[in-house]
């Protein structure tokens, strides 16, 4: 008998009495009066920042306004119809392997949804073949339409879809760790800084 069958058989033999699956949609969950305010305040404590683009301002303008030194390093911009920075097509042509993103300073990617309760953004970009971009870049910019804001993770899971070759992630702020004496340090292995741009 295979290990699969052996394990499943033991489980079957040891099965507890049936327990009903609860209805997770029944309770009323927290509702923020101003979810954008909640998001913006929280993301700061998580090593990120939220900005809103003004009329006539491009995402890249917003990024440069936030990081005045932007443009000195390599910028990859995956937004449709935005020619500033390295475009998606150029990127695909140049990137032979996921390792090619290691010298990316700023990556600008689409975020599909923002969650007010924890300041995370859902990223799962269709046609992006190298998910390493999210994690290898030094600074990550996630661009989210401002109406795509939900209150809690329950609302988020009702809306998200996994697009990128079976990969998607909620990303909240910058990579961080507190493994040395509980001191919070921004910039562990992933992006050192994160910016959420609401358009």
């Amino acid at each position: 008998m295979s290990s699969r069958e052996q394990i499943l058989n033991t489980i079957r033999a040891n099965r507890p009495a049936p327990v009903e699956l609860p209805d997770i949609h029944a309770p009323v969950f927290v509702h923020y009066d101003d979810p954008h305010q909640q998001f913006s305040t929280l993301v700061e404590t998580l090593g990120g920042c939220a900005v809103y683009v003004n009329e006539g301002q491009s995402v890249l303008d917003a990024v440069k306004a936030h990081w005045p030194d932007a443009g000195q390093g390599r910028i990859v911009n995956l937004l449709e119809g935005n020619n500033a920075g390295q475009s998606h097509t150029e990127l695909q042509a140049q990137s032979q392997s996921p390792h090619d993103h290691q010298n990316v300073d700023i990556a600008i990617v689409a975020g599909q949804l923002a969650v007010a309760e924890n300041a995370s953004v859902w990223v799962s970009n269709a046609n992006l073949d190298c998910r390493s971009l999210y994690f290898l870049c030094q600074r990550l910019v996630m661009v989210v339409p401002r109406e795509r804001m939900v209150h809690t993770m329950r609302d988020a899971y009702a809306q998200i879809k996994i697009e990128e070759r079976g990969f998607g992630s909620f990303i909240a702020g910058s990579s961080r760790t507190a493994d040395i004496e509980q001191s919070l340090v921004m910039g562990a292995h992933g992006a050192m800084a994160a910016l959420v741009v609401f358009v």
Binding site: I7, F29, H99, Y157, G166, T177, I180
Partner: protein, 461 residues
């Protein structure tokens, strides 16, 4: 890598030799517990979330075979290779088989208590594969040839100066520099080289979704994500109890996990892996290693609901004052003290006795495991299995006999109240009272029963 010979009381006494360090450990861990409270208070539905999580996990365990089969079939249809391992040995053989077939020389691993449980690192290293733990805390204990002392904060038992010295030796950082930011960024640079040159990446699993056949991994550092998005081979190891029925249920668990674990609203990365990266391959190893046996025990099966947040450790007054190094099982604290003895009562009996039954662990557990009740149950099991030291067994038997004979109990109390005050201090020197520098307490005139009797009579008047 863990030492089965550890006996909690002795190991804890050793840890307490360095009082300032022990005090620091206590306050560092308690600080995380307080952060957890602050997060819980921000959500009016906190208790409802715990109740839902408990019910979802209990439901899943009651149909675990069906959900596991659904998960495995779905993952397979996503193009993922699924393996089943009955025990640690089979797990290690499978992982080594995958790596050997691809001629892997270097593996980057993100923190996984399951691979610790299976002893994977020494197994692979003995077969010529370099294993790099990439979670910062885990990397620190790996370089020190230690085991993690906490399941979420593996290096919480160490001071920054110890880490500074270690990094100076291992990575050539500046002498005497123990600034956490400096050290973290030194490790970042060092580990990035390993990420870029590894041939395979391995992660644990926080949640496995039966409905979609995908796994979810939560980290703050992004090490799991980097580790599996660069090399062509991605291996995830999961215990059979990690299953949840549907994707939507993550809307409950992802709200509880990081808040309970580190007092943060969520981890930086909550990543959902359903397929390999382009041009790569993905494997999932589903491990039993004694779990299906625990499922058969009505008394202890609830321990399988654990989502490994570590909140029970952070609140435990004994863990905080004795550190994870004092426990014999790879998972310390309250949850480890029931999981360890469930696996091997002879080896881990002392863990269940390292508990004051204060119940704080059960109160913070996000999936409502009745931890302190399980620990009492494990003690009974240890007693029956003859896994208790002789003196302790004798004391328990005596106490049991006294409790069953109230008249004798009352008499013994009376004798004690009379005799202790007239016994010379010197004779009590080696008793439990005196051992830790305590003074012998003043004996009350009346027994508790007498005091209560008088009070009740007083109330009646």
């Amino acid at each position: 890598m863990h030492d089965d010979d550890i006996k909690h009381p002795q190991a804890a006494a050793e840890f307490l030799q360095d009082r300032p360090h022990a005090r620091w450990h206590d306050s560092a861990v308690w600080w995380v517990r307080k952060k957890r409270d602050a997060q819980a208070e921000k959500l009016p539905e906190w208790e409802q979330l715990r109740a839902l999580a408990d019910q979802i996990k209990a439901h899943t365990l009651s149909r675990l075979d069906e959900y596991l089969a659904e998960f495995a079939n779905k993952a397979k249809s996503n193009g993922v290779t699924v393996h089943f391992a009955q025990d640690a040995q089979e797990h290690n053989t499978i992982v080594h088989g995958i790596l050997a077939a691809a001629h892997v020389k270097k593996l980057v691993k993100s923190k996984s208590m399951l691979t610790e449980e299976c002893g994977l690192n020494p197994y692979l290293e003995a077969r010529g594969i370099e294993v790099i733990d990439t979670d910062l805390g885990e990397r620190i204990v790996q370089l020190r040839h230690e085991r993690p002392s906490h399941i979420v904060m593996p290096a919480i038992h160490l001071k920054k100066e110890q880490i500074g010295e270690l990094f100076e030796k291992e990575m050539g950082t500046e002498h005497g520099n123990s600034d956490p930011t400096y050290l973290t960024h030194a490790a970042r640079a060092n580990l990035r080289e390993h990420f870029l040159t590894a041939d395979a990446g391995m992660t644990g699993v926080n949640f496995a979704i039966a409905e979609t056949g995908g796994v979810v991994v939560c980290t703050n550092e992004g090490n799991a994500d980097l580790g599996v998005s660069l090399p062509p081979i991605h291996i995830s190891s999961m215990g059979i109890e990690k299953i949840i029925p549907k994707m939507e249920h993550l809307g409950i668990f992802t709200r509880l996990l990081a808040r309970s674990a580190i007092g943060s609203p969520i981890t930086t990365y909550t990543s959902h892996f359903h397929q390999a990266r382009q041009g790569g391959e993905m494997h999932i190893v589903i491990v039993d290693n004694g779990r299906s046996a625990i499922l058969g025990s009505s008394e202890f099966r609830k321990s399988l609901q654990c989502i490994r947040c570590g909140a029970c450790m952070n609140t435990c007054p004994v863990y905080r004052r004795s550190s994870g190094m004092s426990y014999s099982y790879i998972i310390p604290g309250p949850i480890g003290s029931t999981l360890g003895p469930s696996r091997d009562i002879k080896k881990h009996a002392s863990m269940a006795f390292a508990c004051t039954t204060c119940g704080s662990c059960s109160n913070v557990c996000p999936v409502k495991i009745n931890l302190h009740e399980q620990l009492v149950g494990q003690r009974a099991k240890a007693f029956d299995a003859n896994a208790v030291p002789r003196l302790k067994k004798w004391a328990i038997q005596t106490a049991g006999f006294m409790m069953k004979h109230p008249a004798l109990f009352d008499f013994a109390g009376k004798v004690q109240r009379t005799i202790i005050p007239i016994v010379p201090e010197a004779l009590l020197k080696n008793s439990a009272w005196h051992k830790y520098g305590r003074a012998t307490p003043d004996m009350p005139k009346d027994s508790f029963k007498d005091i209560m009797r008088k009070r009740v009579q007083g109330d009646k008047k």
